[in-house]
Each structure stands twice: as structure tokens, then as C-alpha cells.
């Protein structure tokens, strides 16, 4: 599997698990890096607090690629502003665009996301837009210069799995960029299924953060993602539309 790299904006990664750090603790980051093998961790940008002595950066080992997001942005303009500030924080030029107008379902605004992608890609960012899985939007994102497309599997934080499976499959089949399934993946089996479908990577936070045994769940996700990737590369066996197909020889039976 060593030659099978995940390439985003010219950067190579061995791991196909991305950690969201919304619900974070030392334990989560340690488990995600050590047990799930995460090489990319997302961060958010917020007003700095002088009294805050600890920084999430203290928990993240060197060598991890930081993926700042634009959470809190309600439109393209706000997302662009947050992205620029994130880059000024001096941790690289990756950005995950996250634009939400609604705080109940936290669904991404595809139109504003395309706008922000276009502006930031021109400014040299490696742009990874979080989006509602829609083929037309995904094509617009490609044209706007996105480095990957990150469709949601089900509502953020819900752990409900691949509710949008059919539409993510269309993106995988039609879009020539890494499709990273983000939001809603709650179980290793769901991560595995997305990878079998041809997803390039899985991003998760709540699935680990709310698990009983965090390191064990991180390790389960690693195995599931690797198994799914292997199955995809191997090519899944065919499915019959009807009937059965013998898997034993149909000759030489012990009867007259």
C-alpha cells in the first residue's frame, strides 16, 4: 500500500484518515495520530484569548498537516477573511472551506462555497471545500480550483453514516479530484463502505470523540479505511441482478 498515496494539492499523504478536532482532548489527538494514523488535523480560527494558556497546537505533533477551516463564516466574504487570517497564523496554506447559513442543520452553502473557492485558489491556497453532495456544484468547484471535494455523508455530528451515498458515488465517478467524505461518518463499517466506493479519504471527529474507548475506535477506523481502500483497488466482485451462481463444481457429484 506504500505506493498508494493520497495527493492533495501536490502534497502526498500515506494516511486516508483526517481528524476533525472540534471535540478535542489530548487523548483524541493522540489516538487519532497514533492509532488512526492521521496526518491531517483540522482547526478553527477564533478570537484569541490572552488568559488561555493552552493551545491546541501544543497537542499536535510535528509533521502533522494543519487544515484550518472557515467555520463561523456565513458567506464567501467571511470565509475568505478567515482563510487569510488562518494563513497569517503561519501553519501552511491549506484551508477547508465551511460556510453555513443555518445553525440548526449546519448544512454547507454550496453557492457561497464555490465563490470562496475561486477567490482562495487564485490566492494560492490548497482549497478543500466542504459541500452538500451535488454534481453541478462539484464541477463548479473543480473549475474554481479546488484541490479536493468534501461531501457530507449525513448531518455533522450525527454519526448516521452514508445518508447521501448515491450522490457521493456520482461525485466519485465523475469528479477527477480526491473525494473526501466529511461529516456524519459514525462507524468504521461506514468509513469502509465509503472507501470501497472509491472515496479518497474519510474525515471524522464525533465518531472518535464520542466512542467508548477512543484509542481502540481510532484503530478500528484505521483498519476499516485501509480495508475499504484495498477492496476498492482490488475491484469488488460482481453482484448478480437475480438468481444464483454456483461456486462449487457442477460435475463429479457422488451420485448416479
Amino acid at each position: 500500500m506504500n505506493s498508494d498515496k493520497l495527493i492533495i494539492g501536490g502534497h502526498e499523504f500515506n494516511s486516508r484518515f483526517i481528524l476533525g478536532s472540534g471535540k478535542y482532548s489530548m487523548k483524541l489527538i493522540e489516538a487519532a495520530v497514533k492509532d488512526a494514523g492521521a496526518e491531517i488535523i483540522t482547526l478553527a480560527v477564533r478570537r484569541a484569548n490572552t488568559k488561555e494558556n493552552e493551545s491546541i497546537l501544543d497537542y499536535i505533533p510535528k509533521g502533522i498537516t494543519l487544515l484550518p477551516n472557515t467555520s463561523g463564516a456565513r458567506n464567501a466574504e467571511e470565509a475568505v477573511r478567515i482563510a487569510r487570517l488562518a494563513r497569517a497564523l503561519g501553519c501552511g496554506n491549506f484551508v477547508k472551506i465551511e460556510i453555513m447559513r443555518d445553525s440548526k442543520y449546519l448544512l454547507p452553502d454550496n453557492v457561497e462555497t464555490v465563490k470562496a473557492t475561486e477567490i482562495l485558489a487564485k490566492e494560492g491556497f490548497v482549497v478543500m471545500p466542504y459541500m452538500y453532495p451535488d454534481l453541478n456544484t462539484a464541477r463548479d468547484l473543480v473549475n474554481a480550483g479546488a484541490a479536493s471535494v468534501m461531501p457530507l455523508a449525513s448531518p455533522i455530528g450525527s454519526n448516521k453514516g452514508l445518508a447521501t451515498k448515491e450522490f457521493i458515488q456520482i461525485l466519485i465517478d465523475e469528479i477527477d479530484l480526491p473525494i473526501i467524505v466529511d461529516a456524519g461518518i459514525g462507524r468504521p463499517s461506514q468509513a469502509c463502505e465509503a472507501m470501497e466506493m472509491g472515496a479518497a479519504a474519510i474525515m471524522a471527529n464525533t465518531a472518535l470523540a464520542t466512542a467508548g474507548d477512543l484509542p481502540m475506535m481510532a484503530s478500528a477506523f484505521k483498519q476499516a479505511i485501509e480495508a475499504g481502500r484495498k477492496a476498492y483497488l482490488a475491484g469488488l466482485g460482481r453482484v448478480l441482478t437475480r438468481g444464483a451462481s454456483a461456486s462449487d463444481p457442477l460435475t463429479g457429484f457422488l451420485r448416479d
Binding site: T42, R47, N49, S55, L85, A86
Partner: protein, 64 residues
């Protein structure tokens, strides 16, 4: 008065570097916007805060 992260502060006349040091910010971990424009770290010392200015000081937190 200067509006810092939404709060009015009586720091007009100070440089950005002076304010950030006095307020105990970790300069390596923040980014600063002055009247809507990002200020390069090298310019903190020469950026004088004027009455009516607005600054935003941000850092990374868990998210995502």
C-alpha cells in the same frame, strides 16, 4: 478608544506591539487584523493604534 475583538479599550497611541505585549498575547500563536487588513508580524512595532481603530486578534482552536 480602540475596539479589540469587540471590546472598547483605552489604548490609542500605543503601537500594536506594545499592546500585544502588555496584554500578554503569545505573538507566535496569533494573527492580527487592523481596520480589516492583516498586519505582518514585522510591522507590529510600527503600527500605531489610533482612536476609532478596530483590531481583531485570532488564534487556532479545535474545530472542524
Amino acid at each position: 478608544m480602540v475596539r479589540v475583538n469587540g471590546e472598547e479599550k483605552d489604548i490609542a497611541g500605543k503601537t500594536l506591539a506594545e499592546y500585544l505585549t502588555a496584554a500578554n498575547y503569545d505573538m507566535k500563536r496569533i494573527a492580527v487584523e487592523h481596520n480589516g487588513d492583516i498586519v505582518a508580524v514585522a510591522r507590529y512595532g510600527e503600527t500605531v493604534l489610533m482612536d476609532g481603530d478596530g483590531i481583531e486578534i485570532v488564534s487556532f482552536v479545535g474545530g472542524g
